[in-house]
């Protein structure tokens, strides 16, 4: 009985802790959702579901559809002319729970910092998190769903969002 009680407590504590970690990123998005220095974009799963049903003869679109059909959400937080890009980058960096996300890519070029993390469940990538920090620019982008790293870079062509071009780097790293 005691064992059952403690294991239940342990499970509840584990679940709360996992939610809290995930919430850290969500809270970061929410914190700046109404800040006018930022552009905020949220694409709901429903749009991805609808877009996946659109069939055309276009080869490019069909490639994108392959990626889109497994996605369940996109959140973007962009600021392209701010003074504290690097401090925001560092603040966001601290919010990413290291035990939950595994680092996929790190690039540091002059004053530009790019980091990409993935959150895996078995062999499936459930979330891709992209963080870009420059002195005057900040990008936080989160894809959720069933993500194929080989195909996700195709989205950089259609997403008219600052920082999305960094997704191309995944392709470069993979090959």
């Amino acid at each position: 009985m005691k064992r059952l009680f403690f294991s239940t407590i342990f499970l509840i504590a584990g679940a709360i802790s996992a939610t809290a970690q995930n919430d850290a990123i969500t809270r970061f998005f929410d914190q700046y959702a109404d800040d006018e220095r930022f552009t905020v974009v949220f694409i709901a799963p429903k749009l991805f579901q609808l877009a996946a049903k659109i069939e055309t003869d276009d080869e490019d679109w069909n490639n994108i559809r392959d990626v889109v059909k497994d996605l369940s959400g996109l959140r973007v937080l962009v600021a392209d002319s701010i003074a504290d890009g690097m401090s925001l980058y560092k603040a966001a960096l601290l919010k990413v729970p290291a035990n939950e996300y595994s680092e996929l890519l790190t690039v540091r070029e002059k004053d530009e910092n790019v980091r990409i993390w993935t959150k895996d469940s078995g062999n499936i990538i459930e979330e891709l998190l992209l963080l870009v920090g420059k002195p005057d620019e900040f990008v936080l982008l989160s894809f959720t769903g069933k993500i194929d790293l080989d195909k996700i870079s195709a989205l950089s062509k259609v997403l008219d969002v600052e920082g999305a071009k960094e997704l191309e780097k995944i392709k470069t790293t993979k090959h």
Partner: protein, 179 residues
């Protein structure tokens, strides 16, 4: 007896008003008579008549699917308050509309919501609000995704790039506006 009749009449009247307002979650009915408002409500028969002036068969078919269109537009400033926006989203979710896209850049908010069942889109609502104006477009009908595919396919063929490369449907291009 007459008092009872009045009560019944008032109850029926209030319920009717409530149902009418519910169609566009209060915003249209609240602001349509405001100073500077451009409010248009197009019933189904008007859309059907309008099909007579459309040349393409597919476009005509799609236009016939529109049951009701409502447009509310403010050119100079937005009368919508934050409370209005929050209530709008809350009410629309309660009535089965899913939020598809939300974009906020500086003082501009854009929300696109839709109600769908299987492969049919039953309602699309676009709400935008900025310091320079605001608007609400509500489209009620029965649009099958294969019909939308046809229109996209047609516009893709017509709007081919100069270098001959195929155009990707713009559905995923997020409308980020920058100053």
């Amino acid at each position: 007896m007459s008092t009872m009749k009045i009560i019944y009449f008032l109850t029926a009247f209030l319920l009717t008003i409530n149902v009418l307002q519910a169609q566009d979650y209060g915003l249209y009915w609240k602001y349509k008579d405001y100073n500077g408002a451009i409010a248009v409500s197009i019933p189904r028969w008007a859309s059907t008549i309008a099909t007579a002036f459309v040349e393409e068969r597919d476009d005509r078919k799609l236009l016939r699917k529109i049951h009701k269109t409502r447009v509310l537009f403010f050119e100079e400033e937005s009368p919508f308050t934050d409370r209005d926006m929050k209530r709008f989203v809350k009410k629309s979710k309660r009535r089965g509309l899913d939020e598809l896209v939300t974009v906020r850049t500086e003082k501009t908010h854009v929300r696109i919501l839709a109600k769908s069942k299987g492969n049919t889109i039953k309602k699309v609502v676009v709400l935008f609000c900025s310091s320079e104006g605001a608007g609400l477009v509500s489209l009620k009908g029965k649009f099958r995704l294969d019909e939308i595919n046809k229109v996209i396919e047609k516009s893709r063929k017509e709007g081919k790039k100069k270098d001959g490369s195929p155009n990707i449907p713009d559905i995923l291009k997020v409308p980020v506006i920058r100053a």
